[in-house]
């Protein structure tokens, strides 16, 4: 694993979830709310009901143009103005699915309009034109650590002098293709997720989400440090059973914390094996840290989760209170799992971690600049 880059500042941030913007989302999670509802896994074509958190007014079914476009526009309108995509101001667009649901709809209906947003390059080019960005736009995708990968690349661009400031935008919106795929793996089922809880069977929920961050060398009240990505290269869907990948990825954030007491915002989808490994690794690296996971309220927003949850974490620090772990019943996997909200003042920052298929792990320390 490469050494983490030097710290970088977060000059602006935002997200959009079924609860609204970052502030509304933080408030809803503080109140213990969940946006997950039982929705037929294939939308209008039916199937088993599974827990999904869809943006207000949107159905799971694919449309052309995609119904989520208005939400991305609403989020983009909150990005500070600037010559994004011009030299020195690169844009990193990240996600795990982009408009892939459109390709499935194309296959089923033959309607070519579905193809226009279906692949990452076409989808990103349309967004670039829509938002008036210049040509310096990169596309990065690495499953559910996609947003972290964008943050890391943007940080490196800032420190290499390639960028004065960099915009990282990430989005993932659900479709029958995506929910059907997770359902086939038996990890998205009729049970609502209970992250970091012991029970007979695990389940995740999925959610719509998008987020952004503007990274800067010297501007902004928040700092990202100890950024790390670690890929076990072990298996398509599995982590090494000893949890070593989770532990290895936290080394950078642990060094950045330098003994400060922190809290830990984990990935916490609601699967049992990965949940236990993550809790064990977090407890070992940060023995005094309360551990929280928010996907019981938001669902797993897939490639965008790193940026969506970064925005909520920043709101937690700004307002001095972090939401606890939301969703389901059962004893927590470890005493460190915080089920209730708590004050952030006693802590020197929050370690934000995400994990992905293939044994991919990502983490950083978020703290006052």
């Amino acid at each position: 694993m490469a050494d983490p880059p030097p710290p970088v500042r977060v000059a602006a941030w935002g997200c959009i979830t079924p609860f609204g913007d970052a502030r509304s989302t933080h408030a809803a999670l503080l109140g213990g709310e969940s946006a997950l509802e039982a929705v037929p896994v294939l939308g209008r074509e039916g199937g088993d009901p599974v827990p999904l958190a869809l943006l207000g007014g949107r159905t799971l079914d694919e449309t052309a143009p995609p119904a989520w476009l208005s939400s991305v526009k609403r989020l983009a309108a909150t990005v500070p103005a600037g010559d994004w995509g011009a030299p020195g101001r690169p844009v990193f667009v990240t996600g795990s699915n982009f408009g892939v649901g459109g390709l499935y709809a194309l296959r089923r209906t033959g309607n070519a309009a579905f193809a226009e947003w279906g692949a990452p390059p076409t989808c990103t080019e349309r967004l670039r034109l829509e938002f008036g960005w210049g040509p310096d736009v990169s596309i990065l995708s690495h499953a559910c650590v996609s947003a972290h990968l964008g943050l890391l690349q943007a940080t490196r661009a800032v420190h290499a002098g390639i960028a004065d400031e960099a915009l990282v935008l990430s989005f993932d919106f659900l479709s029958p293709f995506v929910s059907g795929g997770f359902h086939a793996l038996k990890i998205l089922n009729s049970e609502f997720p209970a992250p970091y809880r012991e029970r007979a069977a695990g389940s995740i929920g999925l959610g719509d989400g998008a987020g952004f961050a503007v990274l800067s060398r010297g501007r902004g009240d928040w700092s990202l440090s100890g950024q790390a990505l670690y890929n076990e290269m072990h298996h398509f869907t599995s982590n090494r059973a000893d949890g070593s990948g989770f532990a290895a990825c936290l080394e950078g954030a642990s060094a950045a914390a330098g003994g400060r007491r922190v809290w830990f915002k984990g990935h916490g989808t609601g699967t049992l094996e990965a949940g236990r490994m993550e809790v064990a690794a977090a407890s070992a690296a940060f023995p005094a840290a309360p551990i929280v996971g928010w996907k019981g309220g938001l669902g797993h927003t897939l490639g965008s989760c790193g940026l969506v949850e970064l925005a909520v974490a920043i709101e937690s620090l700004r307002h001095g209170r972090a939401p606890g772990t939301i969703g389901g019943a059962g004893p927590p996997m470890a005493p460190a799992v915080a089920l209730e909200s708590f004050e952030t003042a006693p802590y020197g920052g929050v370690v934000c971690a995400s994990n992905a298929f293939g044994g991919a792990h990502a983490a950083f320390l978020l703290s006052d600049a």
């Binding site: 793996l185 038996k186 089922n189 009729s190 069977a201 695990g202 298996h235 398509f236 599995s238």
Partner: protein
């Protein structure tokens, strides 16, 4: 004489996963299917579950239930006999 359901399951495993060097009779009844001598992984398990659901009219609800059902051929036989559509079970 081997149990007809057990024999059918072993045949399905070989067919579905295209195990070229394995004969159905070579698969032991009690050895773990995933992570055992057959070297099956979670993607193989997914393929197998999809085939079993279609063939026997079962519904496996979660990954934990799948892991239990695929514990061994013997465990799978018991699981399908208890939950499968009786009209689809070999006699």
């Amino acid at each position: 004489m081997p149990d007809p359901l057990t024999a059918r399951l072993k045949q399905l495993i070989v067919e579905t996963l295209r195990l070229e060097d394995v004969a159905p009779a070579d698969i032991p009844d009690s050895e773990p299917l995933v992570g055992g001598g057959l070297s099956l992984d979670s993607i193989d398990a997914l393929e197998l579950v999809v085939r079993l659901e279609k063939e026997f009219g079962i519904k496996i609800a979660s990954s934990e239930e799948a892991r239990h059902a695929l514990g061994s051929v013997a465990a799978l036989t018991t699981y399908i006999r208890e939950r499968g559509d009786p009209s689809r079970l070999p006699s």
